[in-house]
């Protein structure tokens, strides 16, 4: 089965559970109020979530996920629930071994149709080969996993960011909501984050699962394991597995409203004629992820001490501020908008109740 067919099938399956059409679905704002109303009237039905994988070490120097995946590979009992057993996986073992983000190419940008469908070649970067392996094992045909957790860290002050790449994925939105409401942490609160891109443009690892959620916890330097960040991530994963277990057992999750931070644009550092960074993140913006950035506020400071101001017209919510790995991607921060969202109820497909035993 080709990737395209695969992805069509995938879309179709989700759609069969809700009253949506195949065109782009909007949940946002009032412009689609009518469709929203229709949607909210009936619960979204999803099939049983029996195959769950937890990826750590997608980036080899983001240590919370690396440490947890390594631990669970040795002692998997923590990942067992009544209705399923989640499987841990080190996504980029070579990068983990070297404690680098990647060896040849950023693995979390390798899940494009182009890379996954292209024939193998000896000159392929290591991560291309690894992406195809992961896709074969977790993302294709009868092996399609129902839920993917992908564990990441950031050097930015983003707390516990619950990052999703598909606006259509109601299941992961409910899971995120469950995390948000059942696990409190003042120092690392949950934020709903959406990179709203069409599936065909999705190059992230979470692209290969039926439902997926990326946990992005920070701040934590690359190559460092902090106990506080690790235990928060562990708590969130466990809580997420509890949610899936409850869902499988037939619990219905009511509709709810939430705020979501939706990516608007990526902002690069000011650069000189040689392409070198000529200004750095302003101390007034540093560590202010998710804090409203208003027009006229300083965002960069040059080496000569000159402030550069945000000249946009609207308030935005900056995220990934001063993320170490994004210097090479020419991103100083990512601005988002805050969108209020109404999410329909979620329940298990009729007739699909779990019989209570592990498969």
């Amino acid at each position: 089965m080709t990737r395209r067919e695969e992805s069509n099938r995938y879309d179709g399956e989700i759609l069969s559970g809700s009253e949506r059409t195949s065109e782009k679905v909007y949940y946002f704002g009032m412009q689609e109020g009518i469709r929203l109303k229709e949607m909210l009237n009936s619960a979204c039905q999803c099939s049983l979530v029996s195959r769950v994988v937890i990826f750590g070490g997608t980036h080899g120097n983001e240590m919370s996920g690396v440490a947890l995946a390594k631990h669970w590979l040795k002692e998997p009992s923590e990942l067992q629930r009544k209705t399923f057993v989640a499987e841990p996986c080190l996504a980029n073992p070579l990068a983990v071994e070297k404690c680098v983000r990647y060896v040849d190419s950023d693995l979390n940008r390798c899940f494009s149709e182009e890379i996954l469908r292209s024939p193998e070649s000896e000159s392929d970067p290591y991560e291309f080969i690894r992406a195809r392996e992961l896709y074969q094992k977790y993302g294709s045909g009868s092996c399609l996993y129902d839920f993917i957790f992908d564990l990441h860290n950031t050097t930015s002050h983003m707390g516990a960011t619950l990052l999703r790449c598909s606006a259509d994925d109601i299941m992961s939105l409910h899971l995120a909501n469950y995390l948000q409401s059942s696990s409190g942490s003042q120092s690392m609160p949950c934020y709903n984050y959406l990179i709203d891109i069409p599936k065909k443009d999705n190059v992230y690892l979470q692209n290969i699962g039926k439902h997926s959620l990326c946990l992005e916890l920070g701040p934590q330097p690359q190559g460092v394991t902090r106990a506080d960040v690790l235990s928060r991530m562990r708590e969130l994963v466990n809580c997420g597995l509890d949610f899936i277990d409850l869902f499988n057992q037939g619990k219905e999750f009511p509709s709810f409203e939430t705020d979501i931070y939706r990516v608007l644009s990526r902002v690069d550092y000011p650069r000189d004629s040689d392409g070198e960074i000529s200004a750095i993140v302003h101390s007034g913006l540093q560590d202010k992820d998710y804090v409203p950035l208003k027009p006229g506020h300083p965002i960069f400071t040059t080496m000569n001490g000159e402030d550069l101001l945000y000249d946009g017209e609207t308030v935005v919510y900056p995220t990934f501020i001063n993320e170490a790995a994004y210097y090479e991607k020419k991103v100083a921060f990512i601005s988002t908008e805050k969108v209020h969202l109404k999410v329909p109820a979620l329940k298990l497909e009729t007739g699909a109740e779990h019989n209570g035993t592990l498969q």
Binding site: A227, V281, A324
Partner: protein, 366 residues
């Protein structure tokens, strides 16, 4: 072994100072190395020196020749970005660090590592300035950093010769919560002690700790060690590959105070005798490891970010994935530093234990 040497040193220094002699059996400069004055026993020893007022006053001042050549090293580790950015900036805008009495030369020491934004290419540049590596009799393909070390040694050294640069300020960052830290290699170097004192006083109320790495087991052959007066400037916390404006500003201030000190000194300012509280490295502590050598535990949350804070017997240090806690079992309070430094995982170092010691320097003048 080192401890006993230190004790001898303390006693002899004390005696020498107390009787007003300027001769010191262990070096040309009279000094006292005093342990942590907070301990009761030591407090008495401390006041012995302090109260008579003689010790300090009777010592003659040490005179040094003017500081003529100063280098500022950035990018010794290519992913410690404050120094990389500052030095790159100063290479274009030298006026910020220019002082009229001396040459100040900014220099990127590991350009390939800087370009790739990694700590090093083949081997840690800040560990290879030993005589063997510098001498050039290594056979086969020479690692990039050894090649670079020889080049740096010929430009700013040679190490141990009178032709070497007077002062090298080597700029580093750490992921540990150490704030501004000055790294001192030699407890007998009055000039550098006076400089540390000056920087520390100028930085107040911002803290500026001094770490003394003069220890046979822990000391390493640093890049800056080719200068007559080497000093490391270590500012954190900052993740590798990130440049924070606040950390950059702190580092810039430290460098400017260091240059001011040298300028004042060259102009003939006399610096009175001083005492300097330093944290002297005692020992590196590794992570608990399992049978395959992998990490068996991580830094306990109550030790994380607690650099320079007392670690008392019984305090937790590590925690395993199963929640088991390893506590500190030493007999004395120590002061941990470089707690959870990213670059030290591969060096088998979770943190370093230090003790507080007070150094004394004579008056200093041109």
């Amino acid at each position: 072994m080192f401890r006993s040497t230190l004790k001898v040193l303390q006693q002899s220094s004390l005696r020498v100072k107390f009787f007003g002699s300027i001769h010191n059996p262990l070096g040309s400069v009279v000094r006292a190395v005093l342990p942590d004055p907070s301990s009761v026993y030591m407090l008495r020893r401390w006041s012995l020196v302090r109260t008579p007022g003689l010790a300090v006053n009777m010592a003659t001042s040490s005179s040094h020749s003017a500081v003529r050549r100063v280098a500022i090293f950035g990018g010794t580790h290519g992913n410690e970005l404050s120094g990389v950015l500052l030095v790159k900036h100063w290479l274009k805008h030298g006026e910020e660090i220019a002082r009229r009495s001396m040459e100040v030369r900014p220099f990127i020491t590991n350009p390939k590592a800087v370009e790739k934004c990694v700590r090093y290419i083949d081997t840690d540049l800040n560990r290879v300035f030993d005589n063997q590596s510098l001498s050039g009799d290594q056979k086969g393909k020479v690692p990039y950093e050894i090649e670079q070390a020889r080049k740096i040694n010929s430009l700013f050294g040679p190490k141990g010769s009178k032709n070497g640069y007077d002062v090298i300020l080597d700029l580093h960052n750490t992921t540990a919560h150490m704030g501004a830290t000055l790294i001192l290699e030699n407890s007998r170097d009055d000039f550098t002690i006076q400089m540390c004192k000056y920087i520390q006083t100028s930085m107040a109320p911002e803290s500026c700790a001094v770490l003394l790495i003069e220890h046979p087991g822990v000391k390493y052959a640093t890049t800056r060690s080719i200068a007559k007066h080497p000093i490391g400037i270590e500012v954190g916390p900052q993740p590798q590959g990130v440049v924070r404006a606040d950390i950059l500003r702190t580092m810039k201030n430290v460098v400017n105070y260091a240059l001011d000190f040298m300028q004042y000194f060259n102009e003939g300012t006399e610096f009175p005798p001083c005492s300097l509280e330093v944290y002297r490295v005692l020992e590196k502590i590794d992570y608990p490891r399992n049978e395959s050598g992998d990490l068996g535990a991580i830094i306990h949350p109550s030790l994380q970010d607690q650099d320079w804070k007392p670690l008392n017997p019984g305090d937790p240090m590590f925690i395993t994935m199963d929640g088991e806690v390893t506590c500190y079992e030493g007999e004395n309070t120590v002061y941990p530093t470089f707690v959870n430094e990213a670059a030290y995982y591969e060096k088998n170092q979770a943190f370093a234990k230090t003790e507080k010691v007070t150094l004394m320097a004579q008056a200093l003048r041109l």
